[in-house]
């Protein structure tokens, strides 16, 4: 409904004072268990148990410590999760294809349960990539010490493959390395960054604009890094990842050293529940909802209490070294 903000502006100017007053709605409801867990295939996992609270009465501690959390896999009891500093931890590592059921019971907040199937990892391959330096310059020249900057484009053809008839859900991310450390980046000899997001214009990333929002004039054309295989069911799909605003930063780097650089591509299969929750989070708030002129989206939850999300993820990572391309720049930034 982003387009509607354009309409709401004149509304606000005309008659809407948007006047607000602190208000006690005089209803509360009974707190219930909230269960959150993101299960990664092949890894032990954690469950965070909290309880719901009345928004205006935030308690000091929302964690629930008196619960028992039972783990079932394919309907077979596996273990009670161990309580360890605000978390309940498994020793079991669920594998792709297994159905995990978590049942939590607290003497104070009752029972919550959720089921999720761990997805199979995605199939994809990366073709020949292109690295092109757009610009580079040295900040300061000292013997054997490099200080400078380079701007480059990286183009990666990624072929996503879908092999089954089911609808599958994915998340995409990439990370260049070395990354800038927030506190020490100005002393890091080399780091890479990339601010490109134009790949999100690819139609597979704009599915989050729902059919109703599309009909209702949603004009945002920018996607989020989530997609499904609905556009390439049982087929391949070529995603051209074109990263056009990438930077190589060199700070007092030793010209004679080799600094490993690269990019890590991650494509994850998500359980449908986790995908739905991501979409809910990405949709965010809405001006018309705040003014009482539209209905708030219901938060997605697959927990029996409607509080929390138990999702599963299966990730396949691919690393590409850029060292051979960045080394000449470090050796001669000017």
């Amino acid at each position: 409904m982003a387009i509607l903000k354009y309409i709401i502006s004149p509304l606000a100017i005309l008659v809407l004072s948007g006047c607000t007053k602190i208000f006690d709605p005089e209803i509360s409801g009974t707190p219930v268990l909230c269960m959150n867990s993101i299960i990664e295939a092949g890894e032990p996992f954690e469950v965070e148990l909290t309880h719901t609270w009345v928004y205006s009465e935030l308690p000091k501690n929302i964690h629930v410590d008196d619960a028992v959390v039972r783990l079932y896999v394919n309907d077979k009891f596996i273990e009670n999760l161990e309580h360890d500093s605000d978390k309940y931890v498994s020793t079991y590592s669920p594998e792709s294809g297994e159905t995990v059921r978590l049942v939590a019971e607290s003497s104070t907040y009752g029972k919550a349960e959720a089921t999720v199937t761990v997805p199979t990892p995605p199939e994809y391959s990366i073709g020949d990539f292109r690295f092109k330096v757009l610009d580079k310059f040295a900040l300061e020249i000292e013997p054997d010490i490099a200080n400078g900057y380079a701007k480059f484009i990286l183009s990666l053809p990624i072929t996503l493959s879908d092999t089954d008839t089911e609808k599958n859900y994915f998340a995409f991310s990439f990370n260049m390395f070395p990354t800038a450390d927030y506190e020490t980046f100005d002393r890091q000899p080399v780091y890479l960054s990339c601010y490109s997001n134009d790949y999100l214009y690819d139609p597979i990333f704009t599915e989050r604009i729902s059919v109703i929002d599309t009909m209702s004039g949603e004009v945002e054309d920018y996607g989020i890094p989530l997609f499904t295989d609905s556009k390439f069911r049982e087929e391949d799909y070529l995603l051209n990842l074109r990263l056009s605003d990438c930077n190589l930063r060199i700070n007092d780097a030793d010209m004679n050293s080799i600094y490993d650089t690269g990019i890590e591509i991650s494509v994850s299969s998500l359980s449908p529940e986790l995908y739905a929750f991501y979409i809910y989070r990405w949709n965010g708030s809405d001006e018309l909802v705040d003014l009482g002129l539209a209905e708030e989206n219901h938060a997605y939850s697959n927990v029996s209490t409607n509080a929390g999300i138990v999702g599963a993820i299966s990730t396949k990572r691919h690393t590409i070294s850029l060292t051979e391309y960045t080394t000449p720049i470090i050796q001669n930034p000017s």
């Binding site: 809407l16 208000f23 409801g29 993101i38 205006s56």
Partner: protein, 803 residues
Amino acid sequence: MKRAFLVFIAVSLYISVNATKVTIHAVDRSAEDVFAEIMAQTNLNFVYPSDLLTDLTVTVDAKNKPLGKVLSAMFKGSDVTFRIKGDKVILMRKAKPKPLPLPSAEPIYVLPAAEPSEKLEEVVVLGTRNQSIALDATDNGTITLNNSNIMNTPVVGGEIDIIKTLHHQPGVAPGVEGFAGLLVHGGENDENLITIDNVPVYQSGHIGGIFSAYNTDVIDKVDFYKSTFPSRFDGRLSSVLDVRTKDGSTESHHGSFRLGLISGAFNIDGPIRKGTTSYSFGLRRTWLDAILAPTMAYINSREESLKNYLNFNFNDLNAKIVHRFNEDSKLSAGIYYSSDYFKGGTDDIFGTDSSSTTIYNEKGRTKLRWDNLAVSLNWTKRFSDKFTGEFTAALSRLYTKISSKNILNNNFNDPPTYDHTFVRLKGLINDWILRGDMAWHPDERNSVRFGASFTNHRIEPNSMIRESLWDQKKYSSRYISEVLKANEIRAYISDDITLTQKIRLNVGLSGTLFSVDDKIKTGISPRFSIRYLPADKLSIKLAYNRSTQFIHQISNTYISLPTDQWVPVCGDLKPMSADKISVGAFRLFPHGISLSAEAFIKWQHNIFNLIEYSYLLPNESSWISALTSGKGSAKGLDFKIMKETGKVTGHVSYSLLWADREFKDINGGKPFPARFGNRHKINILLNWRINDRWQLNAAWTGMSGNYVTFSPQVWQSPELNLGYTSEIPLFAGINNYRMPFQHHLDISSTRRTTHGYWTFSVYNVYNSHNAIAINRDYHNGRPVFKKVAIIPILPSISYTWLF
């Protein structure tokens, strides 16, 4: 028919007839309207046949003149004469009665006369024309408004408004306060059939529905049916609003010009060919753009790097040409056009280098336009004294267009780059309509109406083109919605039967064939109503009404927006329908006071709602998959005590309502209250004609708050890869919370001058904070709930110049 008389009364007998003086200025106006104005200025009893003033136009210019002289001037040259006897003014025909009038939009409801016209004085005086119709008719919940009713109802911004006038009626709710929603007996906004001169229109609001899209200056009459619909109307579940515009004068030119805080209106009408052909033209246009331009210029002058642009306007245009071939035949051509236009955007300059050269320059522009068009050609023909017909050919069209453009000049790149994104959405509903409506009066006991219509719908829910040029790479996508073509054939017949003096019956049947997607859907809508007169001034009524609806609106807001899409009932979905039973009583008291009460129960079938997680449906899905069908019910009571004559008129009304919805896929399948099912609603409307110059109007509204989906509790989300948690509302049920009782007092005053009148109004006089939403927010770092109110005290002023 000629022996059937309706009798009207005004109150207060202490002023003698001869001393009564009136002030009135009318040029070729409907005699009924002028007479209504005279009745309101006097305290006399007026007695005349119901059809006496129909189709009669009069010209009179009197300032504080004796009533007798005014009436003489008024009826000079007509076949109407009058007699003053005691406190009664009796109007009658000079010669033989005219044949049946040309059919009008409303059924010709008559009270069987006990005596012939020569004994008029012995007829029991019952009340005003509206009251007599309400007493005599078989239907429940019918309201007739004229221009003066609408003008004398105070509203937001002083913009006189049909729909906001109806909000003061029992059983009618506005939805969101201040907006022109129309929610009748627990129904929804898209369940109201709104017609202008017999042509349905789809968009009823301006600026998101703050103002309704009808220029009230051109309105002749409004009939509003909220319980029992005449058989000639079908296609919507909740109500019918039949708006008729004025015919121009065939004798002289005259008009008005009104200037208010938000809009101005210009209206003119007159003869094209004296005596036979007339025109009328009305234009209302906001001048918000004239206010916004200097305002934005001032704001922008204070900011170097960011410029904001905002332009908004709306307008309504009505034009009509009427030609009378003879006394029996009339042809009219009319056009109604209503549009909103919005343009907004920013110019953002950010980043300059050491030589002050701009690095980035971003321009964003969004335009919205929505047009409503109704064009009609109407031929009215009296074939004989007993048989008349009205034939209409029309086009009704709602067109919406939204475009958004964003341009980014990036001088940092070498060479500089030019990026842009462009999105355009279009929506259309286009109806070609042919219809014929007949009235046949075979004898004095039967009044038969029958007719048929054909409508060709072409519906294109938003089609979208999305194009991006980003770093010299072009991305484009196109979402072209399916063009939905539907044909609707409808036929109806009804008979209004006077069984005895005490019992009157109306039976009707309407049938519809609706073809879409190569499927034919059908709807049968039987109607039945009966009136019993146990006493002279008391009627009791029972009615059953079935309605069927084949086109509905998809909207994810509660207000009227151009982005709302009308769609037909497609696929395996069944047409919406409603069955309603109402029981009513109407009682007349002396002094023009009447009391009406109506109890109703309504069952709605196959009504639509968006599914709970419609936001998860990707844009390639069919919109049908975002809908779920279910049922609803409503029951309640409408009560109104009304005074229609004398210096002080008005009404007090109360509504009691329970309205529920139930969908298998929503709220866990459990029923939930309708959002705008306001349990209690009280309206008090007073109009006080202080003297010839001043009139004071006051309206107080109090009603239970709307239901909202409210989550008092929240839960903490996982961090995911966002790096932070957030508070997620815990779903606690749909429409699970009723907002606090809301109330406001609105007043307006009219002062007549030599050439026109001033209107002063204040909305929400005591600045009541009527909450419409609850937000989660922070105050001094602490989480708090805040209630949101949108309309504070709002004064306005306008002047209308008459010429």
